[in-house]
Each structure stands twice: as C-alpha cells, then as structure tokens.
C-alpha cells in the first residue's frame, strides 16, 4: 500500500464520518419522543385531534429513522423540532375543539333553560287562565242561579197574586167581607133548618164554593164560628151554635178540606151583629161565620 493510497482512504473515511456522525443520543429527539408519547396518552388529543396526532407520530418516525440511519445531527434536530411543533399543532387543535364543544354545550344549556323557563311561564299562564275560567264559570253559575231564583220568586209572586185574585173572586161570590180578623164569609140562618144544625141544600152548595177556596189555596186556615140570637137559654144557644159550626166543618170535610186547617167554636148569643129586638135583627144574628186567617201572601194583595 502506497502512501498516496492511504491518504486517499483516510480522507474518504473522515469525510464519511463528518457526514454521518452517530452519537449515543440526541436530546432533541428524546424530547420529541417524550412529547409524542405524552400526547398519545392524552385522551383529549387522541379523541379530538387524531389526524394531527397521527402526523406528529409519523414525523417522529421519520426523525428516528434519520437518527438511526446516522443522518446529520442538524437534520435529526430539525426533524425532532418539526415533530415537537406537530405535537403542539395536535394539542392546540384538541384544545380548541374541546373549548368549542364546551361553548356549544353551554349554548345548548342556555336554550334548554330558556325553553324550560318559557314552558314554566306558559304553564303558569295556563293555570291562571284555567283558574280564571273556573272563576268565571262559577260566577256564571251563581248568576244563573240568581236569575233562576228571581224567576222563581217572580213566578211565586205571580202565582200568589193569581191565587189571591182567584180567592177574592170566589169569596166575592160568598159575600165575603174583609175585617180586622181576616176575610169573613157569613152563612145565614136560612141555610139551616130552624133550630137545627142540619145544612139545607142551598147551604151545601155554599160549602162546595168554600171548599174550592181551600183547594185553590191549600195552606189557608179558617176558624168556623157559630152564633145565635138571644131567644132561648144561653146554654142551649151555645150548644146550637157549636153544633152548627161542627155541621159546617163536617160538610167542608166531606168536600175534601183537610181537617187540620179547620177549627170550630160555638159562641151562642155572645156576639150579635144586629138588634135582637127585631125579627130581622135576630135572623141576622143567627149565623155561622167562616173566618179565614190573614196570610203572609195577603199583604201583597192590593
């Protein structure tokens, strides 16, 4: 081997060594590897920026290959730097996307809350409306009831008026008189046998008219009072007057008048309406009076 040969070989070896120094470790590459590993184990980056993470991982592979291929340190450093920055790209991208998801979630939350609040308001309004409607319905019902009562009252008044008018007409036929004690119908002596308590047929007809008064006004009460003239003993007169009153009551009962609406009293000669000294006066004193007690409804009868 000549000296010239040796020099040539040595120069070649030195040049190759300069081009591809292979040190034990490259700090930039170690750092890049650590960052890629950290990003890979970060769920946010792995989930939200998978493509960016993939590019960083690929970049690391290229840097490692350059290092194991014995490329220049500057090249390995450059590739490591690129890897580190690609990890940064992945991390920032994931961070942005996570924040955007939070923003969207918060917006959705707000919408949900607004909707819930509006639903609440609508339900409240609905409840108030329903309550108000119920109130109105109740007021309507009360009004209707009041109207019905008014109609009923009016009807009752009209019925009462009609009844009173009818009663008055019926009583007029019987020569009824309004007195302080009430309406008084007088049955004269001529309706009875002389000295007897039996009603004559004409008296029976009058009984039918009286009974009609009770039928048109079932609540009407009446007292039947017998009177005589002063002829004979007062004892016998009282007895006769009682019997005649009883006879009238019996006749009314036969006509269908309720017994509990009637009462009888024999006054004898105690209450004359005319002079017992004349024949006509005595005849007027012999009588049976049917006294209708005043009623509440009578007040409104003019």
């Amino acid at each position: 081997m000549t000296t010239r040969h040796f020099v040539l070989a040595a120069l070649a070896a030195a040049t190759l060594a300069a081009c591809s120094t292979v040190p034990d470790r490259n700090d930039a590459l170690v750092d890049a590897r650590a960052r890629v590993t950290a990003a890979q184990s970060n769920p946010q980056v792995a989930t939200l920026a998978p493509d960016e993470l993939q590019r960083a991982t690929e970049s690391l592979r290229v840097a490692q290959k350059a290092w194991s291929d014995g490329d220049k340190t500057a090249t390995v450093n450059h590739l490591s730097y690129m890897t580190v920055q690609r990890v940064a790209v992945a991390t920032q991208t994931a961070s942005s996307r996570a924040s955007q998801a939070v923003t969207a979630g918060a917006a959705a939350d707000r919408d949900k809350m607004r909707l819930a609040a509006r639903t609440d308001e609508a339900e409240t309004a609905q409840r108030q409306l329903a309550a108000s409607q119920q109130n109105n319905a109740q007021k309507s019902a009360e009004l209707a009831a009041a109207e019905a009562t008014a109609v009923f009252d009016r009807d009752r008044v009209e019925r009462s008026r009609a009844r009173a008018a009818e009663l008055e007409a019926q009583l007029a036929e019987l020569n009824a008189k309004k007195t302080e004690r009430g309406i008084v119908v007088t049955l004269g002596d001529v309706l009875f046998d002389s000295g007897q308590s039996r009603l004559l047929p004409e008296g029976v007809r009058n009984m039918a008219k009286l009974a009609a008064v009770f039928k048109s006004d079932p609540q009407r009460r009446a007292s039947i009072e017998g009177h005589t003239d002063s002829v004979g003993t007062s004892r016998s007169n009282a007895d006769l007057s009682q019997r005649r009153a009883d006879a009238v009551m019996a006749a009314l009962l036969r006509e269908g008048v309720a017994a509990d609406h009637l009462s009888t009293q024999g006054y004898g000669e105690e209450n004359p309406t005319a002079d017992n000294g004349t024949a006509s006066g005595r005849q007027m004193n012999r009588r049976v009076e049917i006294v209708f007690a005043p009623e509440r409804d009578d007040i409104i009868v003019k």
Binding site: A9, L16, C19, A74, R86, Q92, Q100, V102, A106, A117
Partner: protein, 131 residues
C-alpha cells in the same frame, strides 16, 4: 491500451473505488437545490398567521415564525439551501402553531364566556322561580 501503473494492483482498485464513493458522498451533501417551494409555502403560512388576533394572543409564537422565515431567507442568500429548506419548514410549522395557539386561546375565552352566560341565566331563572 495503456493503463497507468498504480491501477494495476488490487489496492489501487480499492483506492479508486473509495475515491469515487467520496465524490458521490460529497455530491450528496452539497447538491440540495434552491428550496423555492418550501420558501413559498413558509412565506404564505407566516403571512396568513400574521393577523391582529394572532399577534395579540400568541405574540411570541408569531415572532418565532417570522424570525425563522428571516433566517431561511438569509440561508437562501448564502446558498445554504439545505438549511434554508429546514428553516422554511420550521417557519411554516411555527406559523401554524402560532395561529392554532391564538385560536385555542380565543376558543377557551368563548367557552368561559358561554359558561358564565349560562350561569347568569340559571341564576336569573332561579331568582324568578323563587320570587
């Protein structure tokens, strides 16, 4: 055919082979073309990242990208094309990182504001309901 005397030995053949490898290796180290594409991409990336919001939210990152681009231009001027290509690549990724950094900062603020708004609304609704 006349052959030079030193090539006639096997050692001479080996030496010639070594010398050829050396030429090829040196050529490999120095034959990087002008990285015009990488330079263009880097220029565009830095320009795109150089906005008001990026300089507000990621000023250091943006400055790094701009410095890197300046260094790449300088390397081109001094015919160090390999270094220029690397610097251009780095300027491009630095610009991207600056932009994304600013964007994630903005997104984080927006998320915070959105959550605050939701909290305020919730409080308002709660107060209304209680009333």
């Amino acid at each position: 055919m006349h052959t030079p005397p030193f090539i006639r030995t096997p050692i001479a053949v080996l030496a010639l082979a070594l010398a050829s490898t050396l030429v090829v290796a040196l050529g490999g180290c120095a034959s990087t073309p002008v990285p015009s594409t990488q330079m263009a991409v880097a220029e565009a990336a830095v320009q795109s990242a150089n906005t008001g919001s990026t300089s507000a939210d990621a000023p250091r990152e943006l400055q790094l990208a701009m410095d890197k681009l300046a260094m790449a231009r300088q390397a081109v001027s001094s015919k160090d094309f390999e270094r220029a290509a690397q610097l251009a690549d780095e300027a491009q990724i630095d610009a991207q990182v600056a932009e994304l950094h600013a964007q994630s900062t903005r997104s984080r603020k927006a998320a915070q504001e959105s959550q605050d708004a939701a909290r305020v609304l919730r409080e308002e609704i709660t107060r209304k309901t209680v009333r």
